[in-house]
Symmetry: C4
Subunit: 264 residues, 4 copies
Amino acid sequence: MSEREDLVLAYRILAARGVVDAYGHVSLRTAKNPNRYLLARAMAPELVTADDILEFDLDSNPVKDTQVALYLERYIHGEIFKSRSEIKAVVHNHSPSVIPFGVTTVPLRPLFNTGAFIGEGVPTFEIRDFQESGDLIIKTPYLGHSLATTLGAKPAALMRGHGAVVVGESLMLAVVRSVYLELSAKLQMQAMLIAGPDANIVYLDDAEVAAISGRQAFAGTWKRTWDLWCIKARAQIEMEQRAKRPKASFPVKAGADRRRSRVG
Amino acid sequence: MSEREDLVLAYRILAARGVVDAYGHVSLRTAKNPNRYLLARAMAPELVTADDILEFDLDSNPVKDTQVALYLERYIHGEIFKSRSEIKAVVHNHSPSVIPFGVTTVPLRPLFNTGAFIGEGVPTFEIRDFQESGDLIIKTPYLGHSLATTLGAKPAALMRGHGAVVVGESLMLAVVRSVYLELSAKLQMQAMLIAGPDANIVYLDDAEVAAISGRQAFAGTWKRTWDLWCIKARAQIEMEQRAKRPKASFPVKAGADRRRSRVG
Amino acid sequence: MSEREDLVLAYRILAARGVVDAYGHVSLRTAKNPNRYLLARAMAPELVTADDILEFDLDSNPVKDTQVALYLERYIHGEIFKSRSEIKAVVHNHSPSVIPFGVTTVPLRPLFNTGAFIGEGVPTFEIRDFQESGDLIIKTPYLGHSLATTLGAKPAALMRGHGAVVVGESLMLAVVRSVYLELSAKLQMQAMLIAGPDANIVYLDDAEVAAISGRQAFAGTWKRTWDLWCIKARAQIEMEQRAKRPKASFPVKAGADRRRSRVG
Amino acid sequence: MSEREDLVLAYRILAARGVVDAYGHVSLRTAKNPNRYLLARAMAPELVTADDILEFDLDSNPVKDTQVALYLERYIHGEIFKSRSEIKAVVHNHSPSVIPFGVTTVPLRPLFNTGAFIGEGVPTFEIRDFQESGDLIIKTPYLGHSLATTLGAKPAALMRGHGAVVVGESLMLAVVRSVYLELSAKLQMQAMLIAGPDANIVYLDDAEVAAISGRQAFAGTWKRTWDLWCIKARAQIEMEQRAKRPKASFPVKAGADRRRSRVG
């Protein structure tokens, strides 16, 4: 129950910070069974409620029969959970500032304190190396496994022409890293712009990455951000609930209405 | 009736996503008569209500006599509907990130999954090739027809020094493409910035465009975005209605007031 | 009375569109006496109400004695009104995207339809040519007159290291031009970025500027934007008034409170 | 008491203007004892209330015993207050546009009127020159003193790979400078982009900096901005208080709730 509510907040936070739009999803491995993970049914992050969260096994099959539509790319989550036992949460997003780095050979590099984890390495997944269909979607266990292999032990991987995947030893860590990956990409672009073609930029060095990133993953550093965002996400949910109470007079169609009634 | 409400939502969504400001419009071919289309009277998208929607024939004449001002550029819609029987909706906008591409010889190219349709081609309409008046407005059937000819079978065309036109086999498709055309243009600028003058950027290749774009046009891919935006547009409309109920004490002038009373 | 309310809306619109922050001001020549103009007392645009509007003569002296602080740079308005009898409104702003053009030798050029007026010319005022004090503020009639001379018959002038001045044959025109000057500057930067060092950009040519700009100044083109912004500005004012009614429990200090009570 | 409320507003303003996110802090030297300063407990700026403000001595020890978590980097404040008796307030932030300048050798330079203080010099603090741990955090008096030494008599210093520190002879001055440092950095990037590699940019010269910056520090120039932001911050606080009154039905967890109840 609590895990589902945490996951709802994670969805809302990612949407509120612009890291996901109508696409993208975040999963949480269950505490009581490491071979299960929670993920929403196929829907926009901003609309997810606790009732929309489903439980999956690591082959990404729903544990209970369901008629609702599922994310085609849920294999991203299952295959990473299989290959990384320490990972508790996975975010897949189309984070805007990250996409341009995914389509160039310019690597994301660690630029500032809160983006130090980037220094552990952010490889790029090239789907053309694993299939010839021309599709970019991770819609099979094989592609999910291939992405997990490219990710290896890193905190994040770019997906060329598509987006990124970000993982964490906690839900908080996966979400906070997603947000700071976006910010760091934006700042790196700006540093490259002002430094010019010679690009004399002082990135964090290996000692700095080692000193900072590991500590941030477990210490209270991110908690301050996470707590703030949770408070704001809850306030947003409450506002939606209040707005819903006086029945709308504008006619809404059945399909949308049904989904909408699940917002509260 | 339902078509009019859908079109109102389309206007509101385009405004909320920053794809139109006070200018720009979106039309919908009617289901019962393919030789008719719906379009608002000349007004800002954010203010359009069902009462503001008029019906036009394909020569872009209003079907019923009316005293209200009409968009000078309604020929964009009529002439494209004439030349593309499969097209159900047309958006004309001054989408900000798209304008810079319209004035350079740098083509928009497909960069990521949700912008794959750009790979079908986005030609640029140069009005100087069709008239010598110096005006940039598509204010005659001839100019509308010329634009439709430049557009050809493509999903969108840039209009040099002006904006863009985006079409779809459904209203949803034309609106979603408009939003992702804007985003893709922004991301392409950023990719060009970080890739530098040598510009080593991996765009989607033809196989990828073929595999993705056609499927997206008809499958449920865009539905998730569309439903989200409709929910938000309806919430905005309801908020405006609530705000209106307690009569304002600030004196408003007659002209603005009349228009405003149509917001609800 | 009506002129004062129009001017309040102009202040609010400029703030809402990001063209002014706490600085910047807009003036309106009075209809009944062309040797008088209206301008707020020295205050942030977002807070201006009809009670804050004062009347000045063309030497920029307040017509009635007053104890309130006046804008040091009011001479911008008075001196331009003196030299340009057809001008009815003057905006001075620190419009962010315009400032970078003011400090380089790269001229603003007309890029798209709604920015066509830029093609009439936007000269840059270099205050170093007129004084040696090192100050950048137009705090004397002489500096105001010098700026008016640089402006000449143009619709706008940049002020190096400071901001811009924008004029119009109507209040609407000065405000709308201010907003589109900002947008056009932003888009020109982007066009320069994607076009690269060779900068092959197709700007509007003289025929286009001639065909478009003059017409826009007087036809209904801008009315659609203006009306939309006025509606939104009025809604904002009403929202502030409603928020004020239930007396705040948070202790506010006397000085701020007094100013605040004038918001409504 | 009044000092605490002023400091709360400063926290809120910095968050509202995007100069701090969940990190960053601002301190105020107490008027009655120049060897004391006020600073919040370790928490997100947006959530700070008067009850969260603690008093410290210049060694950055809390004057009263406390169980709450303290900012690890509070030495930034104490050491600068020690070395600069005229300074009354210190801001530490991760201001986004400033970070890229901190990692390049391109100096921030004064570009426009409200950023004139930058012309007094904004040095960059390279923590590698003072320790070998690889950490970037100012978590000892020694590092705080080193930063204060780099800052010298300047109004601000960048911290490589981290953020910035900004100081003022008043709380208002430190806050306003923080906001305009961010804006000026953004505009300088844009000026560099449009000026190109030859970078022919007219920065404020020494005479201009001398004429403007000193005057701005003490005259009423910044008061207009400060008053506006205080009014908006108070309105935001009042809105939060109103939103809190009808008890939320969404279950919130104890930890977050406790913190939240301190918002009002």
